[in-house]
């Protein structure tokens, strides 16, 4: 029998001995180690081998496992080849090796009987100190546990066939190469101050031989579209194509030198917005800190960055620095220890857009937390502490208990007596208070804050608190208060049992009826748990409260105790019930009659030994039904009345009983008896006197009630009728009454006779009186009107004197000699030059001696301009104000210079003549003035104000501008009437000569008005046009010599200044319209 023995011996020799690519006889492929072992056995000798002492030994050779076909065809080794395969199993903790001869495969295919090949395999791992041995016919499989560690495993194989044996050369398998490389770990990213986003990772194993990496990323919403970046020779990569606001998932993997790719690493999620460099920083007070912010949003520009400190304060732009388009930097100095935040926002119109990321600055040191603690000594002692901190800081409250007193605690700092730190049960957070329980009031506690994340370097100053010094005791209890008849309020109470130290107290009280506008009166400090308070009145109930605190030493006032209402001490029941009246209101819809009793209040102050505490209202309806209501001291009480006989009695009550002398009221729907004959009221400013008389044959009422409505209370302000109603009861013997209070003068008083069985017929009277204030006001207005009128008259006189003093007196003119202006009714009478008047009624021939000359500049012949030129002369007096206003609007106002005189040598002898100069204005507004003047020609005008004050009545419309167009003068007595009120004061020749010497080129309008007309004119100011026509105000101008002396020709304005200035000179330019 042919026997073949194969022995495998595996010896572990460590990892370092084997090159990864060299499997020492085999190759690594697809996470398996493969080898082909072929052995040459001395086949011929094997027949007698069983008798031999030393079996013959053959030779084995490892062939190239990748080409087993060629190797297996070796002529010398054919038929004795083994395929060896090793791999890891069981979560890569076991190495499996399998050796299988080619003979086995051939036997299976040929079904031929062949000698058996025995394969024996030894596997040995020194690191794991494990060995395995296995054998089999034609095939053998061994498994060895590696405990998850990498190892180099040695294996030996021996094959036996028919007594011949062959041993394999030494083979080694590195399990490291049978595994995939571990994916990289610690994938994260950094942002540089230039804005680069750099991802970094680490090898999973320290001695990793990974060289090539791949990193992939995709947005979280589209994980199918990966972006893959290859990285070689380094474990970082810069990704600059990322968008902001998108949540990305990124993974990385590595490739070993035998081309195994690891799995993808754990995903790393991130969203880019604004990155801060550094994201948090520790600094010291006063040091400068520079923080960079990277805008990953490409639409945000660093030039528009806005840095905010703690989200509250905008940091000045002078502290910013633009690094590049996406990176901004700020440098700040924090002076105080504590915690601050910096946010870099982007200006967006008026607002600053920010994301939720911010940089944190921890400034080392101690800050002031401003602790306030308050303890409570009760069943479980507690202490609540509050503090102030930045709203951005998350803090932890820490405390430590000491058994000694707080005064000596600084010396004991760090001593053994201090117990270990404890933390507020609420833990870290944005708390602002913490309540510590189960503490000892008599211990000392050190309390401080630590900013979360500040690594203990940022903390508050500690406070040392003895809870006993900060106790807020419970309020006193068991209050008792009594209002005594001797006007004393006696109060007593019980102090809280804990804390046990001496207490002081404060008491406050307020009358119960004044609760609406509570004004507490406070008494204290009181050292005893009782007090007696002197009152101004008796019978008053009070609301009383008490509080307490430590007598000596610090601590807090307790809360006020529960309110206690004082008891009024009485020794007997009240004697009298209150007086009352009623208001009857019928509800139109529900057919219900409501009766409201208005109860007088003085019952409160009565006999101090029989104080009234409330009311009892007793009702007696027809049918002997009786019921009663018990109320407090209310002012009103309402009930429904069913229109049947109903008697109401209001009684006072206290704890000892009800009053016995009470007033009744009977409500009856029956016709009321009439007993009042007359009722009247007389009012003055503050009182109303009421009087009445009764019919003689009627019984005398029990009393009278007079009611009225208080007009001061506005019904529109939801003041009910009940509240507005005022009433007073009068004894039956009285027949008059004086009511003194504030009345408005239109109150309606109603007199009700009250009988035992009901009310009599009421009588009403409305007291009216004028308001004296109105009279006084009227008198003042009248007086002021008179004063104003007189003032106006006087001022008018003065103005006329001022204005007309220089106007020559026409009576002094030669042409006016002998003329009686009062008798001149028409212009014809005055100027009997008919053709001149016909052609141009205003055209007067200059008289050599005296003339009034109206000169107009030549203008482009438009009618309006002509009118403009003439307007100033023809203003009527009562239009002056309007015209002045119009003039004021004009940029070139009309002016009249009364003192600017011009005279010819011929008139020099008339030393009493002065001139008025009327300056023209070309302003369009004058046209309006003129038209207004004309349209209101009925007014008797005073030419006043800044312009000429030309008065006088000129029959025939001498200066009527309606005639200026030289149209018909059919109405010779045109409506214009001009009062002549001014005296023509005659001035010296100097003025005249001076004017001439200066060659005044102004247009001059000389008017003569009879000074005798002055007074008459004043009287006619307000008269109508018709009156004017009848009331002749005659200008004493003798036109005849004037017309005779000069031909009636138009005077060109160009020569106006050369006209001999005889006064008065009336000259106008007549322009016929085209």
């Amino acid at each position: 029998m042919l026997a073949l023995l194969v022995n495998f011996i595996t010896i572990s020799q460590g990892l370092a001995a084997l090159s990864p690519s060299d499997g020492r006889g085999g190759i690594y492929e697809d996470l398996k180690w493969k080898a082909l072992l072929c052995c040459e056995l001395p086949f011929a000798q094997t027949l007698d081998d069983g008798l031999s002492e030393h079996p013959p030994v053959g030779q084995c050779q490892l062939l190239n496992a990748t080409k087993p076909e060629s190797s297996s065809k070796s002529p010398t080794l054919s038929g004795n080849c083994l395929d060896i395969l090793c791999w890891l199993e069981g979560e890569q903790t076991n190495l499996i090796c399998n050796a299988k001869s080619h003979r086995a495969a051939a036997a299976a295919s040929l079904f031929a009987v062949r000698p058996q090949l025995v394969v024996q395999m030894n596997v040995l791992s020194d690191e794991a100190n494990h060995a395995a041995q296995c054998a089999g016919e034609d095939t053998a499989m061994c498994s060895i546990s590696l405990h998850g560690n990498d190892a180099t495993v040695s294996l030996n194989i021996s094959i036996s066939l028919n007594g011949s044996t062959a041993l394999s050369p030494k083979m080694q398998v590195s399990t490291h190469h049978l595994r995939r490389p571990e994916p990289p770990v610690n994938l994260h990213y950094n942002v540089t101050t230039e804005g680069e986003v750099i991802f970094r990772w680490s090898d999973a194993q320290p001695n990793s031989d990974a060289i090539n990496f791949e990193i992939r990323y995709a947005s979280n919403s589209s994980l199918q579209q990966w972006e893959v970046v290859k990285v070689k020779g380094r474990s970082w990569v810069s990704l600059n194509e990322l968008s902001s606001g998108i949540r990305y998932m990124v993974q990385v993997r590595c490739q070993s030198h035998i081309n195994y790719w690891s799995e993808w690493s754990q995903p790393f999620y991130f969203t880019l917005g604004v990155s801060y460099i550094p994201a948090e920083i520790f600094t010291t007070p006063g040091s400068e800190v520079t923080i960079y912010a990277v805008f990953h949003n490409r639409s945000w520009s660093a030039s528009k960055a806005v840095w905010m400190l703690n989200g509250q304060v905008k940091i000045p732009e002078s502290q910013y620095r633009v690094i590049n388009e996406q990176v901004s930097a700020v440098t700040v100095t924090v002076d105080e220890p504590g915690f601050d935040t910096l946010m870099c926002c982007h200006q967006w119109g008026e607002r600053f857009k920010c994301i939720i990321a911010y940089a944190k600055i921890y400034t080392e040191g101690m800050f002031n937390a401003d602790f306030t603690c308050q303890s409570k000594n009760s069943e479980v002692d507690t202490m609540s502490c509050e503090w102030n901190k930045s709203a951005w800081a998350q803090v932890r409250l820490l405390y430590r208990q000491y058994t000694s007193m707080c005064e000596t605690i600084s010396e004991m700092e760090g001593s053994e007596e201090a117990e270990e730190n404890m933390e507020c049960p609420s833990g870290a957070g944005d708390h602002r208070e913490c309540t510590l329980r189960n503490l000892s009031l008599f211990s000392c506690y050190k309390i401080w804050l630590e900013v979360e994340g500040g690594r203990g370097k940022v903390r508050s100053f500690p406070v040392y608190v003895a809870p006993i010094d900060y106790v807020k005791p419970s309020p006193p209890s068991v209050l008792e208060a009594t209002t005594l008849p001797n006007k004393i309020l006696s109060v007593s109470w019980s102090r809280p049992r804990l804390p046990v130290y001496d207490m002081q107290y404060e008491l406050r009280f307020v009358a119960l009826r004044e609760m609406a506008n509570t004004q507490w009166k406070v008494i204290g400090p009181l050292l005893e748990p009782q007090a007696e308070i002197q009152l101004k009145e008796s019978c008053i109930q009070f609301k009383v409260e008490v509080r307490c605190r430590r007598l000596n030493g610090s601590g807090y006032w307790s809360d006020w105790s529960m309110s206690y209402t004082s008891v009024v001490y009485n020794s007997k029941a009240p004697e009298m019930g209150p007086d009352f009246w009623r208001v009857i209101e019928e509800h139109p819809v529900r057919s219900v009659t409501n009766v409201t009793l208005i109860i007088k209040q003085p019952v409160l102050a009565g006999d101090p030994y029989s104080c009234v505490e409330g009311l009892v209202i007793e009702h007696r309806a027809s049918g002997r039904a009786v019921w009663s209501n018990e109320t407090t001291l209310a002012q009103f009480h309402s009930f429904q009345w069913r229109k049947e006989a109903h008697t109401v009695t209001v009684m006072s009550r206290n704890a000892l009983g009800i009053s016995t002398q009470n007033r009744n009221m009977t409500l009856s729907h029956q016709p009321k008896r009439r007993c009042v004959r007359s009722f009247s009221a007389v009012a003055n400013s503050s009182c109303v006197y009421l009087s009445w008389s009764l019919l003689s044959d009627h019984p005398v009422p029990q009393s009278f009630v007079i009611e009225w409505l208080d007009l001061k209370k506005d019904p529109e302000q939801d003041v009910s009728l009940t509240e507005r109603l005022q009433w007073v009861r009068v004894q039956s013997a009285s027949r008059d009454l004086s009511l003194c209070r504030r009345f408005y003068g239109s109150e309606e008083f109603t007199l009700y006779p009250v009988f035992v069985d009901g009310e009599g017929e009421p009588v009403r009277y409305t007291a009216t009186r004028g308001d004296p204030a109105a009279y006084i006001l009227l008198l003042i207005i009248a007086f002021l009107s008179v004063v104003l009128f007189v003032t106006l008259l006087m001022s008018q006189n003065q103005m006329r004197k001022l204005m007309w003093k220089d106007v020559p007196n026409p009576n002094k003119c030669s042409w006016a000699k002998g003329m009686d202006f009062r008798q001149i009714n028409t212009i014809e009478n005055l100027f009997p030059h008919s053709e001149g008047l016909t052609a141009c009624p205003l055209l007067l021939v200059s008289e050599s001696i005296c003339e009034v000359e109206i000169i107009e500049k030549t203008h482009p012949v438009t009618l309006e301009h002509e009118q403009d030129n003439e307007v100033p002369i023809y203003k009527s007096g009562n239009k002056t104000a309007t015209d002045s206003a119009l003039l004021a609007d004009s940029s070139e106002p009309l002016s009249l210079e009364a003192s600017t005189a011009a005279a010819t040598p011929e008139t020099s002898g008339q030393s009493s003549v002065t001139y008025s100069t009327v300056l023209r204005s070309d302003q369009p507004s004058l046209l309006r003035k003129q038209q207004e003047s004309l349209s209101s020609s009925s007014d008797e005008g005073n030419f006043s104000a800044n312009n000429s004050e030309i008065s006088g009545s000129f029959p025939g419309g001498l200066w009527d501008l309606e005639n200026h167009v030289c149209s018909d003068s059919a109405n010779p007595r045109h409506s214009s009437s001009y009062n002549s009120v001014e005296e023509f004061s005659e001035t010296s020749d100097q003025d005249y000569e001076a004017s001439e010497s200066t060659g005044v080129a102004k247009d001059l309008y000389y008017l003569e008005v009879n000074e005798e007309e002055e007074e008459e004119d004043e009287e006619e100011i307000e008269e109508t046009q018709s009156e004017q026509e009848n009331n002749e105000i005659v200008m004493k101008v003798d036109a005849r010599p004037l017309l005779e002396g000069k031909k009636s020709t138009a005077v060109d304005s160009s020569v106006s200044h050369s006209i001999p200035l005889y006064l008065p000179q009336f000259r106008t330019e007549c322009i016929n319209p085209p």
Binding site: R247, G311, I356, A391, S426
Partner: protein
């Protein structure tokens, strides 16, 4: 014949009683309004403490979609969904005074859940749970602004809820 004619209305009446709503519709509306108003006041007080610069705008509505912003109210289901999301956010924030708002939200959720049960509405899990977790994880170090953002959006939702109380009548 007459017996059956009487029987059916009786059965219908009984059924309506059996399936009756434990909390009356108007009562629930009042209760929800009270709670929403309370939450709004608390949020206003809380966010006012930050004393933020008036021009500051933290978190556009289009940013951070994980925290509901301007979400439509379409019946009880959507209300529950949104409030649950807010509750998750508050739950993940550090302890502090926001805890009270968290308690308020839990109470409100309890009432709404009871209402949903009585109306036989089917509840569903919030859709963006994982995204929300990731968002909270990413921004764990910026909880002040996360809390401000979440509370501000919760306040807006509560205000919207108050004017859409009729949505409590539908699933």
């Amino acid at each position: 014949m007459y017996f059956s004619a009487l029987l059916y209305p009786c059965i219908l009446a009984m059924l309506s009683l059996v399936h009756g709503i434990p909390i009356h519709s108007d009562s629930l509306k009042n209760l929800v309004k009270l709670q929403a108003d309370t939450i709004i006041i608390r949020i206003k007080d809380h966010n006012a403490e930050l004393k933020l610069y008036p021009k500051l705008l933290i978190g556009d509505p289009e940013l951070y979609p994980e925290v509901p912003a301007d979400k439509p109210i379409q019946g009880l289901g959507s209300i529950m969904d949104t409030i649950t999301t807010f509750q998750k956010v508050l739950q993940r924030l550090p302890k502090g005074r926001v805890s009270q708002i968290h308690i308020d939200l839990s109470t409100l959720l309890g009432h709404l859940k009871e209402r949903m049960t009585s109306m036989h509405c089917t509840s569903k899990e919030p859709a963006n749970g994982r995204a929300l977790d990731a968002f909270l994880e990413d921004n764990a170090t910026h909880h002040i602004t996360v809390r401000y953002l979440a509370l501000d959006r919760l306040k807006q939702f509560m205000q919207k809820l108050i004017v859409n109380l009729d949505q409590l009548k539908s699933c």
